[in-house]
């Protein structure tokens, strides 16, 4: 089977995010970039599904500037087979990304699309669902699994997504409010993954070397025939309200008194 997996280039969550003085965006100079952590979980799952269902192929796709080659290479170093970069400089809203992915799916015809549930830059959590609707296929958001991340299944790197015997369906445990819901989706489908699905592997040095030789195809929105004018524009970016400087308390008794009498929270 063929699995398409997304890898978005995002600001490293360990980097300090500062808003530009003109409130147009965040300061990008001096910020480290990496693959969206939720996408890394999607890549890991794609590799596990592939390796338990040979022959299969994992194609890593990114949409962004030429620099996003680095994130595709990191997916290839984890073990993905080849890459696609839809090259575009500047802001794309999630709807444009979904419509670009729709065209990539039409071209590649994967059996399964795996994506992070959200990218940790704009935190939209909509692209996978939009894509599923544009493709007219089923979806399972917030994919997780019943087994814990300390379980023998996880240690053995078993996939959390369960492919049906006929390989035409997939069972997915979803992390929803109040518990885990299990759905069966017909393939092709779009699955967005949550934190507890797996622990992504680190790329080994030999695999990093091998990844350098794997092919990355470059496409453009124009070549895919997609108008990327945004439906949702970012008109202003501000720093969150600063927290007022707090106080140090000398002991537990004072702390409880403050919490009870001033903050009125206990």
């Amino acid at each position: 089977m063929k699995i398409l997996v997304t890898v978005k280039r995002v600001e490293d969550y360990e980097s300090k995010i500062k808003v530009k003085p003109d409130n147009s965006w965040i300061v990008t100079e001096g910020v480290n970039y990496r693959a969206n952590p939720f996408d890394e979980i999607a890549v890991e799952e794609a590799l596990r599904v592939r390796d338990t269902n040979a022959p299969s192929e994992v194609v890593a796709v990114s949409i962004g500037s030429g620099a996003a080659q680095a994130e595709i290479r990191s997916a290839l170093a984890m073990g993905a087979d080849r890459g696609i970069l839809v090259k575009h400089d500047g802001f794309l809203d999630s709807d444009a990304v979904a419509r670009l992915l729709q065209k990539v799916v039409a071209k590649e015809k994967p059996d399964l699309v795996l994506m992070g549930k959200q990218a940790v830059d704009v935190d939209d959590n909509v692209t996978g669902q939009l894509l599923a609707e544009y493709l007219g296929c089923g979806q399972a958001t917030f994919a997780s699994k019943k087994e814990s991340l300390e379980s023998p299944e996880e240690k053995a790197k078993k996939p959390g997504l369960q492919l049906g015997a006929d390989k035409k369906t997939l069972q997915v445990a979803r992390e929803v409010d109040g518990g885990l819901e299990v759905l069966e989706v017909q393939l092709p489908a779009v699955i967005t993954v949550d934190l507890r699905l797996n622990v992504p592997r680190y790329a080994s040095l030999p695999n990093i070397m091998k990844a350098k030789k794997k092919p990355i195809e470059e496409l453009t929105p124009a070549a895919l025939g997609v108008d990327v004018a945004p439906k949702v524009k970012v008109v202003r970016v501000e720093a969150p309200p600063a927290r007022t400087a707090g106080i140090k308390v000398p002991d537990v008794a004072t702390l409880v008194k403050k919490l009870h009498e001033d903050a009125k929270v206990v």
Partner: protein, 316 residues
Amino acid sequence: MATILLIAEQAHGHLKKATLSALTAAQQVAQKGGGQIQAVVIGAGAAQSAQELAAYVPTVHAVEGSGFEHALAETHSAAAVEAAKKIGATDVVLAATAYGKDIAPRIAAKLGAGVASDILAVVSANQFKRAMWAGNAIATVEVTTPVKVVSVRATEFPAAQKSGSPGAVQQLGVTAPAPKTRFIEFNEVKSARPELTEASVVVSGGRGTKGDFKPIEELADVLNAAVGASRAVVDAGWQPNDLQVGQTGKVVAPKLYIAAGISGAIQHLAGMKGSKTIVAINKDAEAPIFQVADYGLVADLFKALPELTEEVKKLK
């Protein structure tokens, strides 16, 4: 003139609380753009939940029956779109719960609408504030399409009040499309403690616990709090991943957040600095967590937490 469709969330005939917060946001959209609100309730028990909602909204449509028993994104988004078309909705508003997040984008795609997700505030009829970079920046976004879909972070809006005169409930007949998804089962998580993202008090432990969460749990129990953990704790395998508070974990905004033995990495701060009152307990007086804490106590958590637990017990 705007016509706003509120999509309610319910289970087994009972309205979910988040719906009333989404209604408040819908009322703000109505106020800013000039317009009126109708609602739709979908799923098994919808007629009963619609009665409950009619105390707040003048017209409530109920979609029930075959194909809508389970909250599948394909069928529920289709029903929502039928309702939106029937009333000529210019805005679709719903809570950004797991259900809302699942269906809002599909509704938007069907309506050719832009979707503003997980909004914190209504700025104008088509501009909304939302958190990006895990709350490290607040963006104002503008939806440029004629029809808009807005999902609402429920904790940012108070619950709406009942209106003076009860509204009307109308059955809306919708034929469910054949979904490509099948419900198998729901495994409810039963925990004596409240859910991390919904708790009004959260007690979190970090590396300073050295893996011993007993004092954290004992304090959590007297405060009816959820237990959280820093990434270091989860990475060390001391606590399960779903307790992780932070940018890649859960983003929480409780009334009271107590961080014990947590240094305060950016990653962690991003997940909790929206909390109303923050208490930090750490041996290291220089720990960055103190810069965001309302009340800081430089102390060993193994001494301070049991004391704190006893003091809180005395208050109750």
